[in-house]
Each structure stands twice: as structure tokens, then as C-alpha cells.
């Protein structure tokens, strides 16, 4: 398992290599990418803030919860902070498993869970203004 908050560009291949074992037949890798619009507004760039010590701890918690309920081999998660331009990758989640179904489902569920509980925040900056984005749900981890 690998959990990182970093200001440097993320490294998808390192995550994919990290999670793969000789028993793995499938790796699902998710990229969250900064896009040029949101809610009809043209976005110039994003700024990410994080509570790094807690964020890596919560990332490990949600990964371990997933490993308990799904037959996956390994998980790796990276999130970038600071200013990110359009097209740059903010989030990577890699999951390996023997079979593809488990890798896809666990990776998708981990992205959903990540966005609910990991203490990271993004600010959208557009022409003439900016705003911290409110998350998809306000919910304490179980």
C-alpha cells in the first residue's frame, strides 16, 4: 500500500507497478484530471489545500476497509496539492486484483469514498473570481 500527498506531479506508472503482484491479473487506475469548466463556468486553474498527516491516515483507513470486504490485492493513492493547471492530474487511485470486476468496483468505490472523507479541498479560480468547492457530501467516516 502507498499513500501520498505531494506538491510534485503524480506518477501513475509508479502506482501501477506498486500495486501489481504476480498474482494480479487486473489493475484499475483512476486519474482525476483538472478540467476547463465546472457548472458552466470556465475554470482557469485549481488550488488544492490538504491536511497531509490526516489525509494519508484516512486514505489508509479507507483502503484497509476496502481490502476487508473485497478480494483485492493492493491499493495505492496519491493526491497532489498546490496550484494545478488544466489537464494536470490531481488524484490517482490504483487497485490490483486477480480479476477485473473486483479491481473496477473497488477502485470506483474508493474514489467515491475518498471524496467524502479525505481532508483535501479545492478552490476553483476563474476569470475575476474564485471559490472553495463544497464536497459532494458531508459525512463522518463510519
Amino acid at each position: 500500500m502507498l499513500f501520498e500527498i505531494t506538491e510534485e506531479p503524480l506518477d501513475p506508472q509508479r502506482l501501477a507497478d506498486h500495486v501489481r503482484s504476480d498474482a494480479s491479473g487486473a489493475v484499475a487506475l483512476f486519474y482525476g484530471v483538472v478540467r476547463d469548466h465546472n457548472k458552466g463556468r470556465k475554470v482557469l486553474y485549481l488550488e488544492y489545500d490538504a491536511y497531509p498527516e490526516m489525509a494519508t491516515k484516512v486514505m489508509r483507513q479507507i483502503a484497509e476497509e476496502m481490502k476487508e470486504r473485497s478480494p483485492i490485492d493492493d491499493v495505492a493513492i496519491q493526491h497532489r496539492t498546490g496550484r494545478l493547471e488544466i489537464g494536470e492530474t490531481s488524484l490517482l487511485i490504483a487497485v490490483s486484483s486477480g480479476h477485473r470486476k473486483e479491481a473496477f468496483e473497488a477502485c470506483h468505490a474508493l474514489v467515491d469514498r475518498f471524496k467524502e472523507v479525505v481532508p483535501i479541498w479545492k478552490k476553483e479560480v476563474w476569470e475575476g473570481g474564485e471559490e472553495w468547492v463544497e464536497g459532494e457530501s458531508v459525512q463522518k467516516p463510519s
Binding site: G32, D49, K57, L91, V111, V118, K122, W132
Partner: protein
Amino acid sequence: MPNVKVLLFARLSELAGTRQTQLELGEGLTVADAYVILSDRYPGLEPLRNSVMYAVNSEYVSSTQPLSPGDELALIPPVSGGSDAV
């Protein structure tokens, strides 16, 4: 008196104008009490009281959690990692 370290992030740190402060710990003080004291110190925080979550020593806690000397209290606005919406 012993202190509690307080961390503020994102919108809350902008509203308070700082990312970190200290609280003097009164007997039986809960994290909700701490938010009241901080809202007095930084009035911009007051309207966000119902949306904020709390962590003590990097673990989510309820607002009724009592604080202990040396705790690190973090005020957590609604999180929004990643790039896409739903």
C-alpha cells in the same frame, strides 16, 4: 494553562487569516465549545459552524468530544478532493 493546537484549512483558514492558532484549555471543554471560542476570535467562522467537521489528533470526532492537553484540533470544512463531480 495547557494548550490545544488548532489547525484551520481551506475556506476556514482564509476567513480566519491564519492556518494555525492555540486555545487555552478550560475544564471539560468540547470541540464544539472550542469552535464558539474561535468564532469569537475570528468572527468570519461563525456562519460555517453547521458545515464544519472536527478531527482530534488526525481522527474524525463528534462535536461533543472533550479536549485534552496537547491535543491537535483540526477544523475540517466539507472536503472536495479529486477533480470531477459525481
